[in-house]
């Protein structure tokens, strides 16, 4: 990809990313604690509870039909015990990035809530695919899917200024929208997302998924997780879940289906499951309930 964007523009992008909110300290601590075998449910719950808004969202997500708990959990420590450390970590990340992903992203013609819906669909799809290809880290697929498009938040204003040029470039040169971003702006949303993930000190594997989610074969680490998220993203786009002005101007990288050993029937089934599961996730846009502890 050639970079025709000006150095000043790249400088502005770096500044924009610097100005984005940091990952809340609570999430950073929860991430660290859930990796530590010596941690216990009580102490993790206690840390989450220090942020009331996050605590409310975590409980709400835990109680959504998506997790199919046999009964309602009313305390965080209960949720940690029943769902496990990894899932709780994911819920904390989801709860803390909600505000950012729920924004209106006018550059892409995404109304408020649309990017969140798209991210959630991709997260659900990635988790389903990861399970099917038997990745050992199914829960990581959820977070990777959720954060894959975070870069759109950062390059929103740049795209907004030059949306027409980018779209024209995609159509004229017959290249995917993400490559047209690169051609017109000198950077793209995947690359910007990688920078945000680095700023947040997310694990390198996650940075790599975000950075290469439109071209898994270019990733130096060739992690299967990148193909998993790539397919989940393309399917969510195809189905129109939270799509904007960039529409379906994207491509499924050749060889992705073969890499994952997927066939047409698998794709249809997956689409159906994503739709069903989307209906079972709670609507975080609603006023969160008040929770204690």
């Amino acid at each position: 990809m050639s970079a025709t964007g000006t150095p000043e523009k790249l400088q502005q992008l770096v500044q924009t990313i610097r100005d984005l909110p940091a990952l809340p300290e609570v999430v950073v601590r929860v991430m660290r604690m859930t990796e530590d075998p010596r941690s216990d449910a009580q102490s993790i719950a206690k840390v989450i509870a220090t942020d009331q808004a996050m605590a409310a969202r975590v409980l709400k997500l835990a109680n959504s039909a998506f997790y199919g708990l046999p009964r309602r959990v009313s305390t965080l420590s209960e949720a940690v015990v029943i769902l496990g450390f990894r899932t709780i970590k994911n819920l904390a990340i989801a709860a803390s990035t909600f505000e950012l992903l729920n924004r209106e992203i006018a550059g892409y013609w995404l109304q408020r809530g649309e990017l969140w819906r798209h991210s959630l669909a991709c997260a659900i799809g990635a988790q389903l695919i990861a399970r099917k290809v038997r990745l050992p880290v199914v829960e990581e697929a959820f977070v990777a899917g959720l954060l894959h498009d975070i870069g759109k938040v950062a390059i929103n204003l740049f795209v907004r200024e030059q949306f027409d040029q980018i779209m024209e470039r995609a159509q004229q040169d017959r290249i995917p929208f993400v490559e047209a971003e690169q051609a017109v702006l000198g950077f793209n949303h995947a690359m910007a997302g990688g920078l945000i993930a680095e700023k947040w000190n997310l694990p390198p594997s996650l940075v790599s998924v975000i950075k290469y989610h439109h071209q898994p074969s270019s990733a130096p680490d060739k992690d299967l997780m990148i193909s998993v998220v790539h397919l989940a993203d393309i399917l969510s786009i195809t189905m129109g879940i939270g799509i904007g002005g960039d529409g379906l101007y994207y491509a499924l990288e050749e060889g992705t289906l073969a890499t994952l050993a997927f066939e047409q029937a698998d794709i249809d089934e997956l689409c159906e499951q994503i739709v069903d599961q989307m209906a079972r996730v709670v609507n975080l846009q609603e006023q969160p309930e008040v929770v204690l502890r």
Partner: protein, 175 residues
Amino acid sequence: MGVNLTVGMGEIQVVRGAGNVLTALGLGSCVGVCLYDPLTRVAGMVHVVLPKSQASKTGELPGKFADTAIPAIVQRMVEQGASVSRLKAAIAGGAQLFQFGVSSSLDVGARNAEAVIIALREAGIPLQAKDVGGSAGRTLRLISDNGLIVVRTIGGAERELAVLGNILASSGVAA
């Protein structure tokens, strides 16, 4: 008082009388099907996700699949007083990933549009207008007063696709 309803993926919405608006947001490969009975002003919309149901899983959300969606919405509309012989249809959606030289195996948009057209034909409902294919996302709106169908390309212009309640213009089938 009219209602303004959003038709989510796999959902069917049916309203009766003037003053109602049905909307399907963000149609990609999905196909939004609008049906209208001009006499009773019974209007219906279904947001079809996939072409064909699996025998094992019918029933839960018939609107998800083209082959079960059309019979299901027709039945709902008849229950509201519509007559099958008066129903007219317009469809939009069925977009596909942009073709970049390599043939795509994800042709669900084209298969959806084809399956919907076949299902409408089997139900004997004339298709008055369609806006399918391409790579842009669409928003589809049906106004119950006169069966006006409006399609907006996300990030682009809005245009009138058809007026299903216009008796005079009902002879030309655009299929």
